[in-house]
C-alpha cells in the first residue's frame, strides 16, 4: 500500500481515507506504516515551521500518529478527508503540548448544539477530492493572497500579528484574506459542477 502514481487523473481520491479505515477495521499495521510514510514528514515540516526543533517535532509527530491509531474508529470520511482530519489532530496536539492550553471545541453530540441543515447527499467523494481541488485553487491565487494564507497556518501568529510583522495595515490583511477565501470557495464550487 503506497501512494498511487501521480499520473492518475486528479479526481482519483487519495488512498489515505482507505488506509485510516483499514487501521480502524483491522488494526492494519501495513496501512498504518503507509500513512506514517506519507504524513510523518509533512507533520514534521508543519511543526518545525511553527517553531518546534527537529527532536520535539518528531516526538510530536509520534504523538499525533498514536492518536491516529487510537482514534481511527472516529474517522468519518463523510465529515472530512484524511489530511484534514490529521491536520486537526496535529493542530490540537501542538496547542496542547507546546502552548500548554486546552483546545475548546464543540461536541457534535451536545443537545445544546444548533444542528446543521440536513445534507442530502453523501459528501465522502466530494471531500476526498476536496484536497486536490483546494491545492489547485491555491495555485491559481495571486501570490500575495496565497502567501498570506500559508503564513496564517504556518506562523505561530494570529492574522492581526501577521499584519504587524509584514508592515501591512490590518485592513489590507483582512481584505486579502477575504478575497482569497471568496476565490477558493468559488473555485471549489465551479469545480464541483
Amino acid at each position: 500500500m503506497t501512494d498511487r502514481p501521480t499520473d492518475l487523473p486528479p479526481d482519483t481520491p487519495p488512498p489515505h481515507n482507505d488506509l485510516i479505515l483499514a487501521v480502524a477495521r483491522d488494526r492494519d499495521r501495513v496501512a498504518f506504516g503507509a500513512l506514517f510514510g506519507h504524513f510523518a514528514p509533512r507533520l514534521k515540516a508543519y511543526l518545525m515551521r511553527l517553531g518546534a526543533d527537529s527532536a520535539t517535532a518528531e516526538e510530536l509527530v509520534q504523538e499525533v500518529m498514536v492518536m491516529v491509531w487510537r482514534r481511527a474508529e472516529t474517522f468519518d470520511p463523510g465529515q472530512a478527508n484524511a489530511s484534514t482530519w490529521i491536520y486537526t489532530i496535529a493542530r490540537n496536539k501542538r496547542i496542547d503540548s507546546l502552548r500548554r492550553q486546552r483546545r475548546p471545541e464543540i461536541d457534535p453530540d451536545d443537545p445544546a448544539l444548533v444542528p446543521d441543515e440536513p445534507v442530502a447527499a453523501d459528501r465522502t467523494v466530494e471531500l476526498a477530492q476536496q484536497g486536490a481541488r483546494l491545492r489547485a485553487a491555491l495555485a491559481q491565487l495571486p501570490p500575495e493572497q496565497a502567501d498570506l494564507l500559508r503564513l496564517a497556518y504556518f506562523e505561530d501568529l494570529p492574522h492581526s500579528a501577521i499584519a504587524a510583522k509584514r508592515n501591512l495595515p490590518l485592513g489590507t490583511v483582512k481584505s486579502r484574506l477575504r478575497l482569497a477565501m471568496d476565490r477558493l470557495r468559488r473555485l471549489l464550487k465551479d469545480d464541483a459542477l
Binding site: 488494526r27 514534521k44 489530511s83 491536520y87 496547542i95 475548546p104 461536541d107 446543521d116 494570529p158
Partner: protein, 243 residues
C-alpha cells in the same frame, strides 16, 4: 431557534481553525460555533485548507528509527488497540457526555423561569450549574462570574448577567471586548444581540448596552483590558467598578 445574525469575522474563524487563538478567545469562538451552523461550515473549509497546506508542505525527513519507536508505543498497553476514544478524557469532543447533566439547564436569576442550555465547550468551563455559580454584583442589576479559561495573557473571561430592563453604564473599551449572548437580548448603538450573536468591540465603540425587558440577558465576555466608563456619573464611579 433562529440562527445568529452577528458572527465573528472571517479572520477570527481562520485563526481558530489554524490554532492561533489564545484559549479564552478560542472558547468564545467555539461556543458561538455550537450555536451557528454557518460559521461551523466556514471553519470546516478553513480546516480543509489546513489539510491541503499540510499536503503541500515540503516534507521534512524523519529519522530512521521514528516508525520503529512508534510501533513500540502502539504495543504499549497504555495506548494499544483496546483503548477506546473515551479514554482520552476531556480533549476528545466526541467522548463528551451526550445528556446534559441535570441542573446545567438551570434557570438563572430567581424570577427567570426560562431554562438556559449552556453549550459545549463553555459548559465544561463552569464549575457548577449556572444558578449555583459564584455570582457577584458589579452594578445594580448586573452580576458577574469570572471563569478560568487559561491563566496566561491579558484576558479576563466572565459570564455577565443583566436583569431584564437593566441599562449598563456608558463605557468604551481600552482594549477589545468580545461578547457572545447566551440568553435574552440586549440593544446598544450597534444593534440588537440575542442568543448565539457574537460581537467584538474595540476602543472606537462607546456604548450603553441595555437588556431587553423580560428574562435575564446572559453573556459570555472576553476582555483584554478594563472597560472605561465614559458617562458623567460613570467617570466618577470608574475607580470603584472593575468590570
Amino acid at each position: 431557534m433562529m440562527p445568529p445574525c452577528h458572527h465573528p469575522d472571517e479572520g477570527l474563524l481562520l485563526d481558530y481553525a489554524s490554532g492561533h487563538l489564545a484559549e479564552p478567545i478560542a472558547l468564545i469562538v467555539a461556543t458561538h460555533l455550537a450555536l451557528c451552523p454557518r460559521c461551523r461550515s466556514q471553519v470546516a473549509t478553513f480546516e480543509a485548507l489546513g489539510g491541503a497546506l499540510l499536503e503541500e508542505a515540503p516534507p521534512e525527513p524523519v529519522s530512521a528509527d521514528c516508525l520503529k519507536s512508534l510501533f513500540a508505543r502502539l504495543d504499549d498497553p497504555r495506548c494499544g488497540a483496546a483503548e477506546t476514544p473515551s479514554d482520552n478524557g476531556a480533549d476528545d469532543a466526541r467522548s463528551a457526555t451526550i445528556t446534559v447533566p441535570a441542573g446545567f439547564a438551570a434557570a438563572v436569576g430567581g424570577a427567570d423561569t426560562d431554562t438556559i442550555m449552556v453549550p459545549q465547550p463553555l459548559r465544561s468551563y463552569l464549575e457548577a450549574p449556572l444558578a449555583r455559580l459564584d455570582w457577584h454584583s458589579v452594578y445594580p442589576g448586573i452580576d458577574e462570574v469570572r471563569l478560568d479559561a487559561g491563566g496566561q495573557g491579558p484576558f479576563t473571561t466572565r459570564l455577565l448577567r443583566l436583569r431584564g430592563g437593566t441599562k449598563t453604564p456608558r463605557h468604551s473599551h481600552r482594549g477589545t471586548e468580545m461578547t457572545l449572548v447566551l440568553n435574552g437580548a440586549y440593544l446598544d448603538e450597534l444593534g440588537r444581540f440575542a442568543r448565539g450573536d457574537f460581537v467584538g468591540y474595540d476602543g472606537t465603540v462607546d456604548h450603553r448596552p441595555h437588556a431587553e425587558s423580560g428574562g435575564d440577558c446572559l453573556c459570555l465576555t472576553v476582555t483584554d483590558a478594563p472597560l472605561r466608563l465614559t458617562g458623567r456619573i460613570g467617570r466618577l464611579l470608574d475607580p470603584f467598578i472593575h468590570f
